[in-house]
């Protein structure tokens, strides 16, 4: 309060920006300058200037010159949002030999001139905001960025196309990668597809080489049928625990000959790879080109594990690789960066009861159809009704199932339009059936996508614009007998229509993984309210997260098609290699520290930290903060009942002084 009496301990320069007329049109910039000059000398303001564009090189030189000539010890720039130019001005100050963290930026554009109209009021608000920052900056401390070394190994979670791409890029760059996949084989959803839009080249043909390359790459350790169970540490220095689930197959001995699979007497529905449309043996590899090609024994379904007899696989295995006693393995690896390419779940169409999936036999999900149309799938590529023989004569394909629907998901799943067009083509090609597409809007934005759309139109597919209300098996007229009737409002004709078909293919939307939240917690990143992982910046930084060293690629952050997922995998890899090559990483020095003399070890703060940066030292009876783990949120500072925790960059002194300032009479 009474600091007016004391002689100010800092020399502060205040710079008010016109931003052309962006600010000066509403804020009396000169007025602010003079007011600060006059009223804040007591706080240490020795110079206040205004300038047309502070961010211009001339504007920056102005500051640098004053720092040198007037010996400024603090700088306040009133201009735009710190998120735009904080770095600019801090660097400028640094060039003039002033620690960057002694410069503060006040947003009088985004928070004043752009959002208020009354000039007097706006100017008054500008004065108070500047006053607040002047009082704040007096309490700023010179800070140094923290440097931590980077472990050159990388963990990639998810063996889909995005993960494979990321792993290959890094491995080819000469660094080691652990590629962890939950399922028995690499490949992800892409391995289930038959053709890929818009080129229609065979999915397996383009994916397999990548899988093999990843599987055999000297710099890649592939860990399939494995899951990450624990992550600790921070960028550059994560230690990760991986559970390698028991395959009941000794990978050293197994040659992947497949005799065990052949001899296994028991079949079960394969609801993972075959999307529930086909069967697999109890000991199996999900598909022929699986990488690695060691089979996995499905223990819950295995007759031996149920009844204690059978062991057919063991009897016939030429290399005695079958090991019923094999246990889960726990591996610990040290990595510097982690890329999450955990992909998506398919929307469960049975939730939309009006479409009858699960009730009406000939309503198929998109993945079911992918498997059906796949020549290596359960029907050897024949497109047939649920009876397994009859070819459909008319087929309806429904878009936006579970997408763009506020009952389920608001988002557009991005791939469904193109996927549906692909389906239409495949149905025609295989069966020559009449195909109807029911769409809300047709979205074909990427390269040569719309050309593909045109092609499908030319192939004679019938397009009906409207969201399907219901799929029913209850006929109203003789023509509908024994058919599935699609009830839809054709919004182009403006009529309700009932279209009888033999088969319906639902274009299921993409959803975040059911366990996305838990996985997020495991790695210390968060999901947005719709469940996808949050990028650091949706446009300018789409593959990194708020947690340093944790990156995301592919559908983990939202629906994407194959090209987008691949690019993200590569982008994430590039980011990781950039970090590795820097050898060490700089962390923002906004951190919490505990004064151990004041700390009474009450442990109130102990569960405040989601990054486990806070640790209690039992024998000393005090708590400490690991600065490298600390992300600087300040929650523990605010929690400490003894006031023993202080935070750099946003200290109590800074904020309390700022409150005094912004409440100054102006």
């Amino acid at each position: 309060m009474s600091d007016e009496k004391k002689t100010p301990k800092e020399k502060i320069g205040v710079y008010v920006c016109h931003c052309g007329t962006n600010i000066s049109a509403v804020v009396d910039v000169e007025g602010v300058r003079d007011w600060v000059q006059k009223n804040m000398a007591g706080d240490g303001v020795v110079i206040a200037r205004d300038y047309k564009f502070m961010c211009s090189s001339l504007g920056q030189e102005l500051i640098e010159k004053d720092i040198k000539e007037l010996g400024l010890t603090r700088v306040v720039v009133a201009a735009c949002s710190p998120h735009l130019h904080e770095k600019t001005f801090r660097t400028a100050a640094e060039n003039a030999g002033l620690n960057p963290y002694l410069t503060e930026l006040v947003s009088i554009r985004e928070q004043i001139s752009w959002v208020h109209t009354d000039k007097a009021v706006a100017t008054a608000k500008a004065k108070s905001l500047v006053a607040g920052t002047v009082k704040r900056v007096v309490n700023n401390e010179a800070l140094e960025k923290l440097k931590v070394p980077i472990n050159a190994n990388t963990l990639v979670v998810g063996g889909g196309i995005a993960g494979i791409q990321a792993a290959l890029e890094i491995a080819n760059g000469g660094f080691h990668v652990y590629l962890v996949e939950r399922e028995p084989s690499l490949g992800g959803h892409m391995a289930q597809f038959d053709k890929t839009f818009p080129t229609l080249d065979c999915s397996a043909c383009i994916l397999t080489p990548r899988m093999v390359e990843a599987g055999t790459h000297p710099n890649i350790t592939v860990l399939t049928w494995s899951e990450v169970t624990n992550v600790s540490g921070y960028i550059g220095n994560f230690s990760v625990t991986i559970k390698k689930k028991s395959r009941c197959v000794n990978e050293e001995l197994c040659t992947g000959c497949g005799i065990c699979i052949e001899k296994c007497p028991k079949k079960v529905i394969d609801d993972t790879f075959e999307a529930g449309l086909g069967y697999r043996k109890v000991i199996y590899t999900p598909f022929a080109q699986a990488v690695p090609n060691f089979p996995v024994l499905d223990q819950p379904n295995c007759t031996y594990f149920e009844k204690g007899t059978c062991k057919a696989c063991e009897k016939f295995c030429p290399t005695n690789a079958i090991d019923f006693t094999q246990q889960d393995q726990i591996l610990n690896v040290e990595v510097g960066n982690i890329i999450l390419a955990t992909g998506y779940d398919l929307f469960d169409a049975s939730r939309m009861t009006n479409y009858g999936y699960g009730r009406l036999a000939n309503v198929y999900s998109s993945l079911e159809f992918e498997r059906m149309s796949n020549s290596s799938g359960p029907t050897n590529g024949h497109i047939v009704l649920r009876d397994g023989k009859t070819k459909p004569e008319t087929v309806g394909i429904i878009h936006c199932v579970g997408s763009r629907d506020k009952n389920f998901n608001n988002h557009c799943s991005a791939i469904c339009c193109m996927q549906s067009l692909k389906f239409a083509h495949l149905v025609k090609e295989h069966t020559g059936a009449t195909v109807y597409e029911f769409y809300i809007d047709m979205r074909t934005p990427a390269k040569s996508y719309d050309e593909f759309y045109q092609r499908i139109i030319d192939e004679g597919t019938v397009f009906v614009r409207g969201k399907v209300a219901e799929i029913s098996d209850i006929p109203r007229i003789p023509d509908e007998e024994g058919k599935l009737i699609i009830q839809v409002e054709d919004t182009l004709v403006g009529k309700q229509r009932r279209i009888p078909v033999d088969m319906v293919i639902l274009s299921n939307g993409l959803e975040p993984r059911a366990d996305a939240k838990q996985v997020g917690k495991l790695f210390g990143i968060s999901c947005s309210s719709d469940g996808w992982y949050i990028e650091r910046h949706p446009k300018l930084d789409p593959v990194t997260t708020m947690t340093e060293g944790i990156l995301i690629a592919g559908c983990a952050s939202g629906p994407k098609d194959i090209p987008a997922s691949v690019s993200q995998g590569a982008a994430a890899a590039a980011r990781v290699m950039d970090k590795i090559l820097q050898k060490e990483v700089e962390l923002e020095p906004v951190r919490a520290t505990i004064d151990e003399d004041k700390c009474s070890g009450c442990r109130i703060c102990n569960n405040m930290c989601p990054f486990s940066a806070i640790l209690y030292i039992e024998d000393k009876g005090v708590t400490r903060v690991n600065p490298a783990l600390c992300q600087g949120c300040g929650t523990c500072i605010a929690a400490c009942p003894a006031g023993a925790i202080s935070g750099t960059g946003f200290s109590d002194e800074q904020i309390l002084a700022q409150i005094d300032g912004i409440l100054m009479a102006v």
């Binding site: 985004e110 928070q111 968060s526 999901c527 904020i655």
Partner: protein, 159 residues
């Protein structure tokens, strides 16, 4: 007091969601009430109740606390701590006669510039309705108003 009372409100925003929401509102030129003066914190979890009390003691009529939506916190879950503190602080301030309506917790994502401005406008009206708080500046100034109050009700004639 014919002219309408313009409340002074201190707003605390987190660096990642609500402050960016304010940026977004600015970029989109959304006009809103000028009564709120924002202070940026790294996270709503940094908000120390002392800041709110300090603001009231220093002349604020209302205090707005804003952070990322529950579940969207950039520090995973810290906004929940802000929520808990906010709820207990309001109860405590009530004991001082500071209406709970003078403190408001607002969730706004970086994309919700519009929501933030609507919340601000609404809050300004709510505080306007509550009227000025003008908590005494005890040091020095306080003496004046105390002397006004001083020769007090003790001078009551016996019944």
């Amino acid at each position: 007091m014919t002219e309408k009372f313009e409340p002074v409100i201190v707003g605390f925003t987190c660096n990642w969601c609500s402050y960016r929401a304010a940026d977004a509102a600015g970029t989109a030129r959304m006009k809103y009430a000028p009564n709120v003066r924002l202070i940026r914190l790294m996270c709503s979890g940094r908000l120390d109740p002392s800041f709110v009390i300090k603001a009231f003691a220093t002349g604020a009529d209302g205090v707005m606390i804003s952070g990322c939506h529950p579940g969207d916190c950039h520090y995973i879950s810290q906004n929940y701590k802000a929520l808990r503190r906010y709820l207990l602080l309001r109860r405590t301030l009530a004991g001082f006669g500071i209406e709970p309506g003078r403190v408001k917790l607002v969730w706004a994502s970086a994309a919700e510039g519009l929501k933030l401005t609507e919340e601000i406008n609404a809050f300004v009206e709510e505080v306007r309705a509550l009227g000025p708080l003008n908590w005494p500046k005890w040091d020095g100034a306080a003496e004046v108003f105390e002397s006004e109050l001083a020769p007090h009700i003790a001078t009551e004639v016996p019944a």
